[in-house]
């Protein structure tokens, strides 16, 4: 099981700049779909990469789905020379995305985010309109199912007053 609360806390406490996207973002917006990993777009500054590496190191990140025993090292050089990482950790599955299709990198997405408090942790959440756009851009049939739900959420929100 992925402990979303612990992962958000670890990233936030370490000062990693990130944006929650994907299924967890959809759930925060009101989606009822199950998701099993946390997807975040992280800011790829040299300091940010160092913080990210140190924050996750105690939780033994490894390439999800890869055979055990590969010479994978979770260090700054690996992150700098890569971009997107689908990881398994001791506290669950985490997708670290340097860029997303249709959305770009952290800096491009940041203006389309809202700061939320989840479990007393402040974090950036991709807003609903932008989440719909990137899901459409991803272009897989399963993404269109998500878009259908997200657009329905948007329609419902427009009919209902915002939750205080």
């Amino acid at each position: 099981m992925t402990d979303f609360k612990a992962l958000l806390r670890i990233l936030s406490d370490a000062g990693v700049e990130f944006i929650v996207v994907g299924g967890v973002a959809a759930a925060v917006h009101g989606s009822a779909r199950a998701t099993f990993d946390l997807d975040v777009v992280y800011r790829r500054t040299p300091e940010g990469i160092e913080r990210l590496v140190l924050a996750l190191l105690p939780y033994h990140p490894y390439l999800r789905g890869a055979p055990p025993g590969l010479p994978f090292r979770w260090d700054a050089a690996t992150v700098r020379r890569g971009l997107n990482f689908t990881l398994t950790t001791d506290i669950g599955d985490l997708d670290l995305l340097g860029e997303i299709t249709g959305g770009g990198a952290y800096e491009a997405l940041a203006p389309s985010t809202t700061i939320i408090r989840a479990f007393d942790i402040e974090c950036r959440l991709l807003n609903l309109d932008r989440l719909i756009e990137v899901k459409r851009a991803a272009g897989r049939p399963k993404d269109f199912e998500v878009v259908a739900e997200l657009e329905t959420i948007r329609e419902q929100q427009r009919q209902r007053p915002a939750r205080p």
Binding site: M1, T2, F119, E151, Q156
Partner: protein
């Protein structure tokens, strides 16, 4: 969006919308952010339990 701007993708999304459970969404929108995330984690526990049960049954 005007009809001239629509693509076949919009038509596909409209087909999927027929299967969206609006009542679930309405219930979710009544929840706080924490409650929505707790529900998501509870769903994971439930699915994991089903997977374990299937494996135990030799499935």
């Amino acid at each position: 969006m005007s009809d001239s701007e629509r693509s076949s993708i919009d038509d596909i999304i409209d087909v999927y919308k027929r299967d969206v459970d609006v009542s679930l969404i309405v219930e979710n929108l009544k929840r706080s952010v924490d409650e929505r995330l707790e529900a998501l984690m509870q769903m994971q526990v439930f699915v994991e339990e089903l997977r374990r049960a299937k494996q135990a049954a030799g499935g």
